[in-house]
């Protein structure tokens, strides 16, 4: 389906729409999506209320991950204590039976919380490919300062680049006129090197196992 419009030279090209205002951004995201453009990601300096609804994101699966890890921690704590205190080395403590459930509850509680917390942090890092020494793909430095950036992956869109540019201009990207009178529109192309693109946790681990801690996986690279 996508092959009709597929254009080799737009591979790995991202088109960035740059916005000044969060209200404009919220309406722009809705507008752009309504026109049939698929948005890769939006980068903002601070969390914006309602952006996830405008982007049509589904609910995160993190709560379910938390429950699963919490339940795992719960079971582990029960097994740990019943095995040690009941089977492996039974001891009489305070005249209680070997497997005295009330005594176990504080540890069960702590393990549940610990597993849920660590499990959630881990899940979050892995799903967002945030792991040690990951080469960051920074789309535009200004998204950490004062601009909102809408990134559009041209390879994933069936519309041509010119059409998408028009839609972005309609949606209200920032505009300014420089001293010599030329008008600048807040639309930018962004390409990444192959090294920047190969962000995979598995590949990172494979590299680590194959080569040990070498300069290739230790180097913290920044774009430019």
């Amino acid at each position: 389906m996508a092959t009709a419009h597929h254009n080799a030279e737009t591979d790995k090209h991202y088109l960035l729409g740059i916005y000044n205002d969060e209200d404009v951004l919220l309406d722009a995201v809705e507008h752009v999506r309504k026109k049939g453009v698929k948005i890769y990601e939006v980068f903002t300096p601070y969390p914006i209320h309602g952006l996830e609804h405008a982007l049509g994101y589904k609910r995160s699966f993190m709560p379910r991950a938390a429950f699963a890890f919490g339940a795992l921690g719960n079971i582990c704590a029960i097994l740990l204590q019943t095995t040690i205190m009941g089977i492996d080395w039974p001891m009489i403590i305070g005249g209680k039976s070997f497997i005295a459930i009330p005594n176990f509850i504080p540890v069960i509680f702590e393990c549940t919380v610990l597993f849920a917390a660590f499990g959630m942090v881990g899940t979050f890092l892995v799903t967002n490919s945030l792991y040690p020494h990951k080469v960051p793909r920074i789309f535009d430095r200004r998204s950490t300062d004062d601009k909102h950036i809408v990134a559009i992956d041209l390879a994933k869109n069936t519309l041509s680049e010119a059409e998408i540019r028009n839609i972005l201009i309609e949606s209200g990207v920032e505009k300014h006129t420089s001293a010599d009178g030329t008008e600048h529109v807040g639309i930018k192309q962004r390409n990444f090197t192959d090294e920047e693109n190969k962000g995979s946790f598995i590949r990172y681990l494979a590299d680590l196992i194959a080569n040990g801690v070498t300069s290739s996986n230790r180097a913290i690279k920044t774009s430019k």
């Binding site: 209200d23 919220l26 209320h49 309602g50 709560p63 429950f67 305070g94 005249g95 209680k96 009330p102 005594n103 509850i105 504080p106």
Partner: protein, 448 residues
């Protein structure tokens, strides 16, 4: 979207219609029927079936051998253990519980003001109507105490303090400085009096805000309320703990727990939050409070969910320390409750109702936002915390002569219907939305 303001009828009033009255009276009549059936059963059964006799208490109390006649005194309170006592104890359970529930109305408002919370400002009339029940519950409490202190509170027996009496009890005599009639009554009157005074002062501010708002200074009542609330919270924190010692813990006179004040507060607080949520849901089902959306319910649900866990934490902390230390002066409380064939099951029902149901029932975000689920959990929690007070009070007063039957259900339903009637009557007095609250817009447009 947060920035799209919506418009609601700010002057809507709750109509205390005959349909609502009919529902409340149905509960009342059912309660009366249950109570009468229960009472007849009690009288016919001769004050509860007494198989097993005093064996259990004889064991638990007698083996401790407190100085003097401790065992004889605590366990051998033989006289007047009849259906009359059970009636009195039931009134005491419900008076204490409903004083707490109605007091939570004022506490909820106070913490919302001190935190300058905007989301709840549109719901303020509900806790406002709830704390109107406080004077009625207080009168009930005082009346019950006046009639039945001798049957409920073992320490009121004068012979315990008499060195020459065979009933002399060194431990209770040692607590005389705190646990004596004069000081006890003075304390109770101070708690109830100051609480009621605070609710009157709050109501005065609310009425001024509604009817006499000064356009040049529209936030005056808001700032007055913050000061009033801060004062109330300090007094509330101290007085609820002490009230819990006096009204509930002193029933088991020898026994004490440093967790008890918090434990009772937690029980009242969750019950009160569930009551507020339930009234909001009933109003919404009746077509009122159009502005209340899933976000408001979600926040109320989080309150019920979070503080149910808090209650469990307190309950368990009290239990674990006593269980682990295994000191007979302390374990006697749980032996009376866990090893009794009358009350043994209630500790587990208590935990299932007040922990398992709210924990798993309200765990997910969706559950807190669904009115039906929230409503069901709130009903369970309200009944559950009544049971909590039941198992705090009944085993200590009636020992194995007590029990659970139609009579308990009936009296509880009568109190519920009176509570509901007072709430509905007061809801109908003022417009349902406090439109002059400075933060009302935040509540009307609350979305998250």
């Amino acid at each position: 979207m947060a920035h799209h303001a919506e418009h609601f009828d700010l002057d809507e009033k709750f109509d205390f219609s005959s349909a609502v009255k009919k529902r409340i009276f149905t509960v009342l009549i059912l309660g009366l029927v249950f109570a009468v059936i229960g009472l007849i059963m009690l009288i016919m059964g001769g004050g509860g079936d007494s198989h097993g006799g005093h064996g259990l208490n004889g064991l638990s109390e007698g083996s401790l051998a407190y100085g003097g006649g401790g065992a004889a005194a605590e366990g051998g309170h033989g006289h007047a253990v009849t259906w009359v006592t059970r009636v009195k104890v039931n009134f005491w359970i419900n008076s204490v519980y409903f004083v707490g529930l109605s007091l939570i109305g004022a506490f909820f408002i106070a913490i919302q003001y001190v935190a300058m919370a905007g989301w709840s400002s549109g719901l303020r009339r509900i806790p406002e109507a709830i704390f109107k029940f406080l004077p009625f519950a207080a009168v009930m409490l005082v009346a019950t105490f006046a009639v039945s202190y001798h049957d409920i509170f073992h320490w009121t027996d004068a012979s315990l303090y008499d060195l020459n009496s065979p009933h002399y009890d060194a431990i209770i005599d040692g607590k005389k400085g705190y646990l004596n009639m004069t000081f006890y009554i003075a304390r109770s009157i101070i708690y109830l009096g100051v609480w009621i005074l605070f609710t009157f002062l709050m109501q005065k501010q609310f009425n001024a805000e509604e009817f006499n708002l000064d356009p040049s200074n529209p936030n005056k009542q808001f700032y007055n309320m913050i000061k009033l609330s801060a004062g109330f919270i300090v007094f509330f924190g101290l007085s609820t703990s002490m009230a819990a010692w006096d009204w509930v813990m002193s029933i088991d006179t020898h026994w004490f727990s440093t967790m008890f004040g918090w434990y009772n507060f937690a029980s009242w607080w969750v019950g009160g939050l569930a009551t507020i949520t339930l009234v909001v849901i009933y109003l919404k089902q009746g077509g009122y409070l159009k502005f209340v959306n899933e976000s408001h319910l979600h926040d109320l649900g989080k309150f019920v969910f979070g503080f149910s866990i808090f209650w469990t934490y307190i309950w368990f902390s009290q239990f674990l320390l006593i269980y682990y230390a295994n000191i007979s002066e302390e374990t006697v409380y749980f032996i009376d409750r866990l090893e009794s064939d009358k009350y043994g099951k209630f500790i587990f029902i208590n935990l299932i109702f007040n922990f398992i149901f709210p924990f798993f029932g309200l765990m997910t975000r969706d559950a807190k936002r669904k009115m039906r689920i929230l409503q069901m959990v709130c009903i369970i929690v309200i009944v559950g915390h009544w049971l909590d007070f039941y198992q705090m009070i009944m085993p200590g007063t009636l020992k194995d002569q007590g029990g659970f039957g139609f009579f308990e259900i009936g009296i509880f339903m009568i109190f519920v219907s009176a509570f509901a009637y007072v709430i509905a009557m007061n809801l109908a007095k003022l417009p349902l939305i406090p439109k002059n609250h400075p933060l009302i817009k935040e509540s009307l447009n609350h979305h998250h």
